[in-house]
C-alpha cells in the first residue's frame, strides 16, 4: 500500500515569451519587467540561446519570462534560427508559452508586422507591444494603435521602454491575457490558391512532434506547412533534423517551380500585400526629412572621418582593456599575496605550537595560501576587464555604433571568412581570451561564433607579454640590428605573427571544419540613440554574475589540480638536501623548506612531467625546466615566469627578474652548450604564441559550447601546430647556421 503523502505540486508558473525584430528595445523591456535579483540562466541549449528570468506580476506567482534573440521571421535555415519557432510553439525542451509579447517598432512597422502575421497564423495567444512610442511622437509619426488592434484582432499596447511609459499598462494587459486570453481570431491574410494547397500538403509531411503541435486547427496547420516551405530551401543546414522532411519539401518546391510558381516569394508577398494594403490606415506617410542618424552617418561613412572614428573607438577599447585591467590585476595580486602570507604566518605559529601535526598543518596552509587563494585571485582578476569589455560593447550596441563598426570591419575580415561582428571579440583577445570568447555572444550565427572562438586563442593575450619580455631580455642583446632596436622589433614581430596566425587559422578552419556555402550578410544599421544606462549596468552586472557562477567552479578546480601537480609528492627537506646544507640550516624549518623548493619542484608530478616531456620538447630546444614552466603556464601563461623562478632557485629577496635572466642565460645542456640561445628563445616564443596553454580559456570554451569537443579539439590542434612551428624554427634555424 502506498502511504506516501502526496507531494505538494507548486502551481505551474505561466510562461511568457518575448519576441521581436532585432533593435526593437526588447532587452530593455525584458530587463525592466524581470527582477534582476533572480538568477538568470543564460544560454541554455547550444551556444546562442534564450534568456529566462522570473517576471513578478502583481497577483500571480512569478511568471517565467523567456527572451528570444531578435528575429525577422520564424523561418529557420539552421539550428540556431530554429530557436524562434521552438520557443514560440514550445517544441523540444522549450516550455509551452502561455502568452507571446511581440515587440514592434513603429519606425519599421511593416517589417515588424511580417513577424506578427506569422505568429497570428499560428494562433498563439499574444499581445503586440509597440515600443519607442516617444521617438515616434518626436518624429510626428504616431501609429494609430486602436486601428492596428482592430485590423490584427489581438491586443496592442504602446510603450516607451526607455522611460517606462506604458509599461504598467503592458503588465496589466499581460496579467489580463494570462487570466482570460482574448479569443484567437482568424488571420487577416487571405491565402490565395494554389499557395494554400501547397502549404496544406507541406504540413502533412511534418514529423509527429511538429504535427502534434499543429493540432487540428486548419489555419494553424497551414501556417506550419508554410513555415516548412520557407525554412527548407536547398542550402539550409536542417538536414539532420529528424522531424523535418527535407527531401519531400524540396520536391514540393521543384513541383511548384515546374508550374511556374515561386513558393518562397509567393508566401512572403502574400503577407506583405496585406501589410501594404492596411498600413496607410495605421501610419501617417513617413517623412523624408534628414534625420539626426542620417547626419551622424554622413560622418561615420566618410572615407576619412569614418575610418578615423572607427580606429579611435577600437584604440580606446583596446587601451581601456589593457590600462584598466593591469592595475586591477596588480591590486588583486597584492591583496591575495598579503592574505596568503597572513595564512602562512598563522599556520606557522600553529605548527610551532603543535609539532605533532605540523606537516599536515603546513600542507593545509599551502593549499589555502597557494591553491585556493591563487584560484580565487585568478578568477577575480578577470572581473575588471570583463566589466570594461561588457560595458564598452553594451554602450556601443545601445547607441547603434556596434553595427556600423561591424559593417566597417566586414571588409577587413571577409578575406579570412569571418563576419564583421568578429572584430570586437578578436581585438579583445589581445587583452585576454576569456572576455573575448564571452564577447562572441553578440554574434548571431552559431557557425561564425564557433569559428571565432576557435581562433581567439591565437591572438596575443596580455599574459604572454611577461613571457615574451623575459625571453627577449634573456636571449637577445640590447643593441641594434640594421639601425633598429633588436628587442622592441622582436616583440613587435611576435604581435604580427599572432595576427597572421589568427587570420590563417580562420581561413583554414573556415574552409575545412566550418565549411559551408557562402552566406549573404544583411546587417541592419539601427538609428542612433543615447545609451540607456540603467539597462546597460544591469546587463553588465548579469553577465559578470553568470560568468562567476558558471565558470568560477571549474577555474578554481583547475587551479587546485595544477597546484597539486606542482606540490606533490612531498618529501622531507632533510631527505632531499645534501647533509652539509641540512647542517648549515641549524634545524630551521623555513630555511630548509626554502632550500628544498627547487628540488621539491623537480621531484613533483609537474617536475616528473617536465622530465618525461624532455624527449618530446628537446627537438624544439627546450630542456626539462622549460617543460615544468610549460606545465605551470597552464594556470595562466605568466605563471611560466614564476615557475622558472622556482626551478632556477631564484631567491625571492633578490631582484627576481635580473637574477632569473642571468641564471637562465647561463644554463647549459649536459654537453656544455647554452640552452637559452636566441634561436631557442624564438622557438619558445613561437610555441607560446600558438599553443593553447590556459585552463581558464579551455574552461570558458567548455562553458560556452556546452561540450568538451571544441576545447579538446583546439587544445590538440593548437598544440600540434605549436610543436611543428617551433620544430621548424629551431631545427630549420640550426640548419641555416643560427644559434
Amino acid at each position: 500500500m502506498n502511504t506516501a503523502p502526496p507531494t505538494p505540486v507548486a502551481p505551474k508558473a505561466p510562461v511568457v515569451v518575448f519576441i521581436g525584430n532585432p533593435n526593437t528595445g526588447k532587452s530593455t523591456l525584458f530587463n525592466m519587467l524581470t527582477s534582476s535579483t533572480v538568477p538568470v540562466s543564460n544560454y541554455t541549449g547550444t551556444t546562442v540561446g534564450c534568456h529566462t528570468a522570473a517576471m513578478p506580476l502583481s497577483e500571480r506567482t512569478p511568471v517565467h519570462a523567456v527572451d528570444v534573440p531578435g528575429t525577422y521571421s520564424l523561418a529557420a535555415r539552421s539550428e540556431d534560427e530554429r530557436l524562434a519557432i521552438d520557443a514560440v510553439l514550445g517544441i523540444g525542451a522549450r516550455p509551452r508559452p502561455d502568452l507571446l509579447v511581440v515587440l514592434v517598432d513603429p519606425a519599421r512597422l511593416a517589417r515588424s508586422l511580417y513577424l506578427v502575421l506569422q505568429l497570428i497564423e499560428l494562433k498563439q495567444p499574444m499581445v503586440v507591444c509597440a515600443n519607442m512610442m516617444d521617438e515616434a511622437a518626436a518624429r510626428g509619426e504616431l501609429p494609430d494603435l486602436v486601428e492596428l488592434e482592430r485590423l490584427l484582432g489581438v491586443p496592442v499596447v504602446g510603450i516607451s521602454a526607455r522611460d517606462g511609459q506604458g509599461v504598467d499598462e503592458l503588465r496589466r494587459v499581460i496579467e489580463r491575457e494570462l487570466r482570460s486570453p482574448s479569443p484567437a481570431r482568424r488571420s487577416p491574410v487571405e491565402w490565395p490558391q494554389p499557395l494554400a494547397a501547397y502549404a496544406d500538403e507541406a504540413e502533412a509531411l511534418l514529423g509527429p512532434a511538429m504535427r502534434l503541435i499543429a493540432g487540428k486547427n486548419p489555419e494553424r496547420k497551414r501556417a506550419l506547412g508554410a513555415w516548412l516551405l520557407l525554412s527548407i530551401d536547398g542550402d539550409d543546414a536542417l538536414r539532420d533534423a529528424k522531424d523535418l522532411p527535407h527531401d519531400a519539401a524540396l520536391a514540393l518546391h521543384r513541383r511548384a517551380k515546374s508550374e511556374g510558381l515561386d513558393l518562397v516569394a509567393g508566401l512572403v508577398a502574400m503577407r506583405y500585400r496585406w501589410i501594404d494594403a492596411n498600413l496607410p490606415s495605421v501610419m501617417p506617410p513617413a517623412s523624408t526629412a534628414t534625420t539626426v542618424t542620417d547626419r551622424i552617418d554622413a560622418w561615420l561613412t566618410h572615407p576619412v572621418s569614418g575610418l578615423a572614428i572607427f580606429l579611435a573607438t577600437m584604440a580606446t577599447l583596446f587601451t581601456a582593456l589593457f590600462a584598466g585591467s593591469d592595475p586591477a590585476i596588480a591590486l588583486v595580486d597584492s591583496v591575495v599575496s598579503s592574505l596568503a602570507s597572513l595564512v602562512r604566518q598563522g599556520v606557522g605559529d600553529l605548527a610551532l605550537a603543535h609539532p605533532a601535526i605540523a606537516p599536515t598543518l603546513n600542507l593545509v596552509g599551502e593549499l589555502v595560501a597557494e591553491g585556493v587563494l591563487g584560484g580565487v585571485g585568478t578568477l577575480i582578476a578577470f572581473v575588471p576587464q570583463l566589466a570594461l569589455l561588457f560595458l564598452f560593447i553594451s554602450v556601443l550596441e545601445d547607441c547603434g555604433y556596434l553595427a556600423r563598426a561591424a559593417q566597417m570591419a566586414d571588409r577587413l575580415l571577409r578575406a579570412a571568412g569571418l563576419p564583421g561582428q568578429a572584430f570586437v571579440p578578436l581585438l579583445s583577445g589581445y587583452a585576454c581570451a576569456v572576455p573575448a570568447i564571452l564577447a562572441t555572444r553578440t554574434m548571431p550565427r552559431e557557425r561564425d561564433r564557433l569559428l571565432t572562438m576557435m581562433v581567439i586563442p591565437f591572438t596575443s593575450c596580455s599574459a604572454r607579454l611577461p613571457v615574451y619580455t623575459l625571453l627577449i631580455a634573456t636571449v637577445f642583446p640590447v643593441g641594434t640590428c640594421m639601425g633598429m632596436p633588436i628587442r622592441p622589433v622582436v616583440l613587435f614581430a611576435m604581435y604580427v605573427f599572432s595576427a597572421l596566425a589568427t587570420l590563417t587559422a580562420a581561413v583554414v578552419l573556415g574552409r575545412t571544419a566550418f565549411a559551408e556555402p557562402p552566406q549573404a550578410t544583411v546587417l541592419e544599421l539601427p538609428p542612433f540613440r543615447a545609451p540607456h544606462w540603467p539597462v546597460i549596468f544591469a546587463q553588465v552586472f548579469r553577465k559578470i554574475r553568470s560568468f562567476l557562477s558558471e565558470t568560477g567552479g571549474p577555474i578554481l578546480f583547475a587551479t587546485l589540480v595544477l597546484w597539486g601537480l606542482l606540490t606533490f609528492p612531498r618529501q622531507d627537506p632533510v631527505d632531499l638536501l645534501p647533509p652539509q646544507v641540512v647542517a648549515a640550516a641549524q634545524g630551521r624549518a623555513d630555511v630548509l623548506a626554502a632550500k628544498a623548493r627547487p628540488l621539491q619542484l623537480e621531484r613533483s608530478y609537474a617536475g616528473q612531467l617536465g622530465h618525461a616531456m624532455e624527449p618530446v620538447i628537446a627537438p624544439l630546444g627546450f630542456d626539462w625546466r622549460v617543460g615544468v614552466g610549460l606545465v605551470g603556464a597552464f594556470a595562466a601563461r605568466e605563471v611560466f615566469v614564476t615557475t622558472m623562478g622556482v626551478v632556477y632557485d631564484v631567491d625571492p629577496a633578490e631582484d627576481v627578474d635580473s637574477s632569473l635572466r642571468a641564471r637562465m642565460a647561463a644554463a647549459r645542456w649536459p654537453n656544455g652548450s647554452l640552452i637559452h640561445t636566441p634561436l631557442m628563445g624564438a622557438s619558445l616564443m613561437v610555441f607560446f604564441a600558438l599553443a593553447l596553454q590556459c585552463t581558464s580559456t579551455l574552461t570558458v570554451l567548455y562553458r560556452e559550447t556546452r561540450s568538451w569537443r571544441w576545447p579538446l579539439l583546439i587544445f590538440v590542434y593548437s598544440g600540434l601546430i605549436a610543436w611543428t612551428a617551433s620544430f621548424i624554427v629551431f631545427q630549420g634555424g640550426q640548419l641555416l647556421g643560427y644559434r
Partner: protein, 77 residues
C-alpha cells in the same frame, strides 16, 4: 540596373530579387519585394558594404550581394 549601381541618395523600385536559397528568402522577408522602393543611403568608409533604406530601416549589403538585386532604371529618381 543592379542595386549597387544606384547613385547615392537615389531611390528606385525593386524589379527582381535574384540570388538563391536563404539569402534571397531573407531579403524578401525583410520586405525587399518587387515594387518596393529602395534608397541608397551610403557606404562603409572602405567602400563596401553599401547601405540602403528599405521600409524605414537601413540595411548594409555587400556590394557583391547588392548586384543580385535588380532595380528599375527608368523609375529611379
Amino acid at each position: 540596373m543592379t542595386l549597387d549601381q544606384l547613385e547615392l541618395g537615389a531611390t528606385a523600385p525593386i524589379e527582381e530579387v535574384g540570388g538563391e536559397g536563404s539569402f534571397r528568402r531573407r531579403l524578401l522577408e525583410l520586405g525587399m519585394l518587387p515594387g518596393t522602393p529602395v534608397t541608397r543611403t551610403g557606404q562603409a568608409p572602405l567602400g563596401d558594404p553599401l547601405s540602403f533604406r528599405v521600409r524605414g530601416a537601413v540595411l548594409a549589403l555587400r556590394r557583391a550581394d547588392a548586384m543580385t538585386i535588380h532595380v528599375s532604371d527608368s523609375e529611379a529618381r
